[in-house]
Amino acid sequence: MLALLKREIRIAWRAGGGALTGVLFFLAVVTVFPFAVGPDTKLLSHLAPAILWIGALLASLLGLDRMFAQEREDGSLDMLVMQGHPLMLVFFMKAFAHWLMSGLPLVLATPLFGIMLNLSPLGIGATMITLLAGTPAISFIGAAGASVAVKLPRGGMLISVLVLPLVIPVLVFGIAAITGALTDPAPFTTPFLFLCAITLFTSVLGPLAASVMLRHSAD
C-alpha cells in the first residue's frame, strides 16, 4: 500500500506528473483577482482569505480527472482492482496521494500569496491551517467524482460540476474559521472542528463511492 503512495508521488514529480501545475494555477487565480477588484490593499486584505480559498478549491478540482483516467488507460487499474487489498484503502491512498501533490503545495504556497494580498500574518496562519484541514476533503470527494467519470474522454469539466456543489461546506467552514481567527466575536475552533469533521467523513465516503464504482467498471 505504501508502495502505491511512493509510486504516485514519484510519477507526479516526473516530467508529465503535473505536481506544479496546481500551484501555478493557484498563483494565476490569485494574481487575477486584484485586477478585477482593484489595487487598494485594504479591500484586498479583507478579501484575501476568500481569494486564497477559492483559488485552492479550483486548483484541487483541476487535477481530479487524471486520478483514475490515467490508470485505466494504461491498464493498471485492472490489476489494482484485482488484488486482495481492500479497494477502499487503495482509493484512499490514491486520493491521499492526489492531495499530497495538489493540496499540500497550495498550503505551502499560501504565505507567499498571502503577502501578495497583504493579508496579516495571523490571517496567513489561519488560512494555512484551514487549507491544511480542508483541502483533503476536496480530494476525497473528488475521488468519488473522478471514479464516476472515469470512462468519459472529457470527464474533467463534468467532475468539477459534480464536485463543486458538494464541497461548499468545506469552503464555508474554512472561511468561517479564518474570520473567526481575525475578528474577535466569531469563534475559530467551532468551524475549524466542523472542517476537520467533514474531512474525516469524506475520507470514508469518497473512497467508498470510488470502490463501489470501480469494482467492476474498469473494462
Binding site: I141, A144, G145, S147, V148, A149, K151, L152, G155, L158, V161, L162, L164, P165, L166, I168, P169, V172, F173, I175, A176, T179, A186, P191, F194, I198, F201, L205, G206, A209, V212, M213, S217
Partner: protein, 254 residues
C-alpha cells in the same frame, strides 16, 4: 394501440432488452397515468380555488398567494431528490434497470421544481426586501440543490450507452445524500455568520387554518403532478431504450 402490436412489441422487445418487467411497468403506467392526470387536475382546481379565496394576510397582504406555489415547489424539489436516492439504491443494490430509468427521468423534474422554487422565491422577496436575490439560508440551499440537479443531468447525458450510466448516476446521487444535510447546515451557519440574527424571510408566524389548507392541497397537487410526469417520463425512457435496442439489432443483422 391495438392489442396485437402491443403484444408484438412486448414479445420481441423484452427479450431484446433482456429484462423481465418493463412490459409489466408499461401496462401499469398506461393505466395509472390517466388516473393520476385527473387527480392532478382536480387537486389543482381545489387548491387554486382555496388559495384565491383565502383572506388577505394582515402582514403580507396578498403576496401570501406566492407562498402557495413557492413552498410546494421547494418541498417537491426535496422530495424528488429522495425519490432519486431510493431509485439509486434500487439501481445499485438490486441492479434493477427500472430504478435507473426512474433516477434518470426524475432529475429533470427535480430541476424544474427547484427552478420554480427559486423563481417564485425571488418574486416573493422583491416586494418585501427590495432585492431580487436574497442570500437567505433556505434560498441558498435550494440554489445549491439546483446545481446538483444540473450536475446529475449533465452526467446522465455524458454517456452514449444509457445502461453504462446507471452506476455513475446512482453513486453520485447517493454521495449527495449524506452531504445535503451537511450543506444545509453549513449554509445556515454561513448565513448567521454574515447576517447575524436577521429574521429570515420564510419563518412565518404560526399559520391559521385558512392558510394551511390551501397550502396542503397545493402541495398534494404538486405531488400528484410530479408522479404523473415521472411515470410519463419513465414510459418515454422505456420506449426510447426499446427503439435503441431495435436499432442495434437491425445494425447487427445486416
Amino acid at each position: 394501440m391495438t392489442m396485437t402490436s402491443e403484444t408484438a412489441i412486448r414479445s420481441n422487445a423484452s427479450n431484446l432488452w433482456g429484462l423481465a418487467n418493463p412490459t409489466r411497468f408499461m401496462g401499469f403506467a398506461n393505466r395509472a397515468i390517466p388516473v393520476l392526470g385527473i387527480a392532478t387536475m382536480l387537486l389543482f382546481a381545489i387548491g387554486l380555488y382555496l388559495s384565491f379565496t383565502a383572506p388577505e394576510d394582515y402582514q403580507q397582504g396578498y403576496t401570501v398567494l406566492i407562498m402557495f406555489i413557492h413552498v410546494p415547489a421547494a418541498w417537491l424539489a426535496m422530495m424528488t431528490y429522495s425519490v432519486m436516492s431510493i431509485s439509486a439504491l434500487g439501481s445499485i443494490v438490486w441492479r434493477h434497470p427500472l430504478a435507473d430509468v426512474s433516477l434518470r427521468t426524475a432529475a429533470p423534474l427535480g430541476a424544474v421544481f427547484t427552478f420554480l422554487a427559486l423563481a417564485t422565491g425571488s418574486l416573493w422577496g422583491k416586494p418585501m426586501w427590495g432585492t431580487w436575490w436574497e442570500w437567505d439560508a433556505r434560498m441558498t440551499s435550494v440554489l445549491i440543490l439546483f446545481i446538483i440537479y444540473l450536475g446529475i443531468i449533465a452526467l446522465s447525458k455524458a454517456f452514449d450507452e444509457p445502461s453504462e450510466a446507471a452506476q455513475p448516476l446512482a453513486i453520485m446521487t447517493l454521495v449527495g445524500v449524506p452531504l445535503l444535510p451537511i450543506i444545509k447546515f453549513s449554509v445556515d451557519w454561513w448565513n448567521t455568520l454574515h447576517q447575524p440574527a436577521s429574521v429570515s424571510r420564510f419563518d412565518r408566524p404560526a399559520m391559521g387554518p385558512e392558510f394551511l389548507y390551501p397550502l396542503l392541497i397545493m402541495a398534494l397537487a404538486y405531488m400528484a403532478l410530479f408522479f404523473t410526469l415521472h411515470f410519463m417520463s419513465m414510459r418515454n425512457e422505456v420506449l426510447a431504450r426499446r427503439i435503441r435496442a431495435m436499432k442495434m439489432k437491425q445494425a447487427r443483422r445486416k
